[in-house]
């Protein structure tokens, strides 16, 4: 029962991946693609938590924290690059 519901949730997260992938290919400029990158990483935090549930290991959650940190860094550096403020 629970696993069925969570499998449906996984499928929905994949649909969200594919929709943002569409915007990645369509997106007129780099800033739009960066938004896509942000949404993809945030969704994959949820996906990692679901994988941790399916494998029943708590230790997988550490990787999700690393993800959150690194996606933040990447978005900030892309924004700085776009406004030519990087040294």
């Amino acid at each position: 029962m629970i696993n069925t519901i969570l499998t449906i949730a996984t499928v929905l997260i994949f649909i969200s991946f594919i929709l943002s992938g569409y915007r990645f290919f369509k997106g007129p400029d780099t800033a739009n693609r960066t938004v896509t990158f942000d949404v993809m990483t945030i969704s994959s935090i949820g996906l990692i938590a679901l994988i941790a549930h399916f494998a029943n290991r708590i230790i997988y959650l550490d990787i999700a924290i690393v993800y959150g940190l690194l996606s933040f860094m990447a978005v900030i550096i892309i924004a700085k690059y776009l406004e030519k403020e990087l040294f």
Binding site: F54, I63, A74
Partner: protein, 82 residues
């Protein structure tokens, strides 16, 4: 069984993103696409029961690599404008 489906879809998205990384018009977009490939590779390692490698790939392959790439192309842009 769940893991197999996850790995299949992640692998497909990875290959599409790899082509985007090679054929994107702008270098910044190519680097972002390469970052997405690394990020998804990290999920693939997780399904293969390798959390250590997944963490290394997330921290190094997708984090620090992207940062260093952007610093490098920023330097190149500055040099060509001078």
């Amino acid at each position: 069984m769940n893991m197999t489906w996850i790995a299949l879809i992640i692998g497909l998205i990875m290959l599409i993103m790899a082509f985007a990384a090679i054929y994107a018009k702008k270098l910044a977009v190519a680097i972002i696409a390469a970052g997405v490939v690394s990020l998804l590779a990290s999920i693939l390692y997780l399904t293969l029961a390798a959390p250590d490698v997944a963490m290394t790939e997330a921290a190094i392959g997708s984090g620090l690599s992207t940062i260093i790439f952007f610093y490098a192309i920023n330097k190149i842009r500055k040099q060509s404008h001078d």
